[in-house]
């Protein structure tokens, strides 16, 4: 029976091949139509690509530059990447944006939209299985902001446990990363070794979370049926295509892809945007940078340059002298021996002349000066507070909309 089936398949294949040859022989151009022909062609093309006989100038040769990394052990992938998390993540990604959309609306105008805390009581939001610690933080924040107060400060230990719980719920999302990180603003810098260890760990875990979220997004984009057709003009050409892959298969494939892509994924904007650069002043003690990405502690000596992401920590070591850093536009920042600063703390160390320069730049940017806005954007860890205050005072100023976009690049 089996050999009969195989023989039948061969006959069908030869018949199709002959048919195609006859049509090509007539030198008439063929438009592939129907249900099966395009699928069959796709299979043949995939075999050609597998054999290396592919397009000569493919510009979107995905992952080419990382080919050497793929061989790295997938065991590098964090333990949280397992089958259960993937199943939960799939459910979360279907539901969570409903909540974040409502949150964004409330944030844009707290008086016109229901507070996120009240959303938990509605039937719709009830479908979002919010991790309890995250839910408490959201409530905490919306209560404070609703009362006209600032977002409350929350310690690194609480943020770490909320993050771990979110991951266990399958809530692996860059929104979570930014939401938790923002609670650091009202919290102070680490003042003792135990607090420092927690802050180092928080930076590492937030960075890892962003990498995980990006690896999952990449994996999701990878897992689709081979007959999947390209979308023309993106959201202008037709309906969104729902990728239908059998649930169990999709989960298995997603997990495999995410574990592999973890190696190639970075933390995206957390590594590339809202950076600030300094030069260590001549005569200063060496500055230490505690990198969230690698967990490495790097010493940067006098006259050398350093660049900080929002998740890195900056330190002056005990026993050495003070660290003096120069920013090309906003002047010097000083750290006393034993001090560690987070991105949030840098702004508090600006000298008076720098504050005046900042105030002037914000004023000019609000009037629509593009160069001033560019200066502010180029040093967001030092300028975000002044921008926020300026925009709050003059929300209708000509340059305010641009500054609102720029602010999101630091806070979101």
């Amino acid at each position: 029976m089996k050999s009969f089936g195989i023989a039948l398949l061969w006959i069908v294949a030869i018949a199709i091949a002959l048919l195609l040859l006859v049509r090509f022989g007539r030198r008439r151009k063929i438009v592939l139509r129907g249900r099966f022909a395009p699928h069959l062609v796709r299979l043949v093309v995939l075999v050609l690509v597998a054999l290396g006989a592919s397009a000569e100038t493919a510009h979107t040769d995905e992952g080419k530059g990382d080919a050497d990394k793929v061989g790295q052990a997938e065991s590098d992938a964090p333990d949280v990447l397992h089958a259960k998390t993937i199943a939960r993540w799939r459910a979360m990604t279907a539901n969570f944006p409903r909540f974040t959309r409502a949150y964004a609306l409330w944030h844009s105008n707290p008086t016109a939209h229901p507070a996120p805390a009240t959303l938990f009581e509605t039937r719709r939001a009830g479908r979002v299985p919010m991790p309890p610690r995250l839910r408490d933080l959201i409530t905490h924040e919306s209560t404070a902001i609703g009362a006209g107060e600032q977002r409350p400060g929350v310690g690194a230990a609480s943020l770490l446990s909320a993050l771990a719980e979110a991951e266990a719920y399958g809530l692996i999302d860059n929104w979570v990363c930014a939401f938790l990180w923002r609670f650091g603003e009202a919290d102070g810098p680490p003042r003792d070794p135990a607090a420092l260890a927690l802050h180092v760990e928080l930076g590492k875990r937030l960075h890892r979370h962003a990498r995980l979220a990006n690896a999952l997004l990449r994996a999701k984009a990878e897992v689709k049926p081979i007959a999947y057709a390209p979308r023309v003009w993106a959201s202008k050409g037709g309906p969104k295509r729902v990728v239908r892959v059998r649930e169990a298969k999709a989960r298995r494939d997603l997990l495999a892809a995410a574990r592999r892509l973890w190696v190639q994924s970075d933390a995206g904007p957390w590594e590339r945007e809202a950076l600030v650069g300094f030069q260590v002043e001549a005569g200063s003690a060496a500055a230490w940078v505690l990198r969230a990405e690698t967990g490495a502690e790097t010493s940067v000596g006098p006259d050398k340059k350093l660049q900080l992401t929002r998740l890195d920590l900056l330190q002056a070591r005990e026993g050495a002298g003070p660290v003096v850093l120069r920013h090309t536009w906003l002047g010097t920042i000083r750290l006393l021996p034993g001090e560690t600063l987070r991105s949030w703390d840098l702004v508090k160390r600006l000298q008076q002349p720098a504050q005046e320069k900042l105030a002037l730049a914000v004023k000019q940017a609000l009037q629509g000066d593009e160069a001033a806005a560019a200066l502010l954007e180029g040093a967001l860890p030092l300028t975000h507070r002044a921008i926020r205050e300026g925009v709050a005072k003059q929300p209708d100023a000509k340059g305010a909309p641009r500054l609102r976009v720029i602010l999101t690049l630091y806070t979101d």
Partner: protein
């Protein structure tokens, strides 16, 4: 997922490109996924960023009978791709409802690009044959939109059109924003408006300096603006379906952070555009030198099968690059590629 599935998943754009080229060498092409028809150049607005000179009706526009015979019947022969009705303002065609009904009788799915101001008068036509997608233009907050469109109340009408279309069951309503220098920095202010509207998605397009927009090159967005918008959109995608549309070109292996499906330029490969007078173009370019023929002279299915060689082969460097929008590149829109790579000073540094 078998080994072929893995290859497809990892190298989707590469597979599409290979398929197009091999089929072309063998004298074949896939049926199009979508055919856009510029139904008319008539428009009751006068937007500076219009890619055509929309306003008055062009002489020689396809009549209703011609549209049915030369377009709709041909689309049936091409496996019924999505017919995208655009303009001008398509709802200003007196036979709009009849056209939609004719498409419905032939089982052709349709989509619409509109300014939204005339939707409410035509709801019955929509109900009779529901479109698969409607994109309504939204240029900014109320004052900006109305000033730019040159008509007070057009912002409110656009939002109301979106709400009504959702109400009658249109599965996908898209708010479409064409970015230019005056509104690119308004995206943070626009986001709550779009999130609160009935739209399912927000498509961010780039102004192309052709048609009337070609006379307003000073409105082209700057490179820093595009970078900020891309960064903003990437973040907003956590909460809402924002997509950077094809004019932006590919973000390579980061495409998944900016749009739902990998970018491939569809011009002459998966899609084409039929002008109001029947010229078959690779995309919405108004440059008649790019025409592959007129549906009045040659059947659309034949033009599709035999034309667009420069988009399917490798001889024309500009047009054979599936990873870029050839039209934006040709027209020199400021540094779209930098938009995807954050604040890094050079592209190489950004890609790492």
């Amino acid at each position: 997922m078998g080994i072929l599935g893995r290859i497809f998943g990892r190298r989707t754009a590469h597979v599409y490109e290979t398929e197009i080229r091999w089929l072309h060498r063998l004298g074949a092409v896939r049926a199009p996924e979508a055919v856009q028809w510029i139904t008319t150049s008539t428009c009751d607005l006068h937007c500076p960023h219009c890619y055509s000179h929309a306003g008055r009706r062009s002489p020689g526009e396809l009549t209703h009978d011609e549209a049915c015979r030369l377009l709709l019947d041909e689309l049936v022969a091409l496996d019924r791709p999505v017919l995208v009705l655009a303009g001008g303002e398509p709802l200003l065609r007196p036979d709009f409802a009849d056209l939609v009904a004719a498409a419905g009788r032939r089982g052709i799915p349709w989509a619409l690009h509109s300014h939204g101001g005339r939707v409410l008068e035509q709801l019955d036509a929509f109900r009779a044959h529901l479109p698969v997608m409607v994109a309504i233009s939204l240029d900014g907050p109320r004052e900006v939109h109305d000033a730019f469109r040159g008509r007070a109340g057009s912002f409110d009408r656009a939002l109301r059109a979106m709400a009504e279309l959702k109400q009658i069951g249109v599965s996908e309503v898209v708010a479409g924003t064409t970015l230019h220098r005056e509104n690119a920095d308004l995206v943070a202010d626009m986001a709550p408006i779009v999130l609160e509207s009935a739209a399912d998605a927000w498509g961010l397009h780039l102004m192309t300096p052709e048609g009337r927009a070609g006379e307003h090159r000073e409105l082209l967005p700057t490179a820093p603006q595009l970078r900020r918008v891309a960064s903003f959109a990437r973040r907003l995608r956590h909460s809402f379906r924002v997509e950077l549309d094809n004019e932006w070109g590919s973000a390579g292996d980061e495409d998944c952070f900016y749009r739902d499906a990998s970018f491939v330029c569809g011009a002459g490969r998966f899609a084409c555009v039929v002008s109001a007078t029947g010229e078959v173009m690779p995309c919405t370019t108004t440059d008649l030198a790019e025409s592959e023929g007129n549906v009045r002279d040659v059947p659309l299915s034949q033009i599709w099968a035999e034309g667009f060689a420069r988009f399917r082969g490798t001889d024309d460097a500009l047009r054979s690059d599936c990873g870029d929008c050839w039209l934006q590149t040709r027209n020199g829109v400021s540094c779209r590629s930098a938009a995807f790579h954050g604040a890094s000073s050079t592209l190489l540094e950004a890609i790492r």
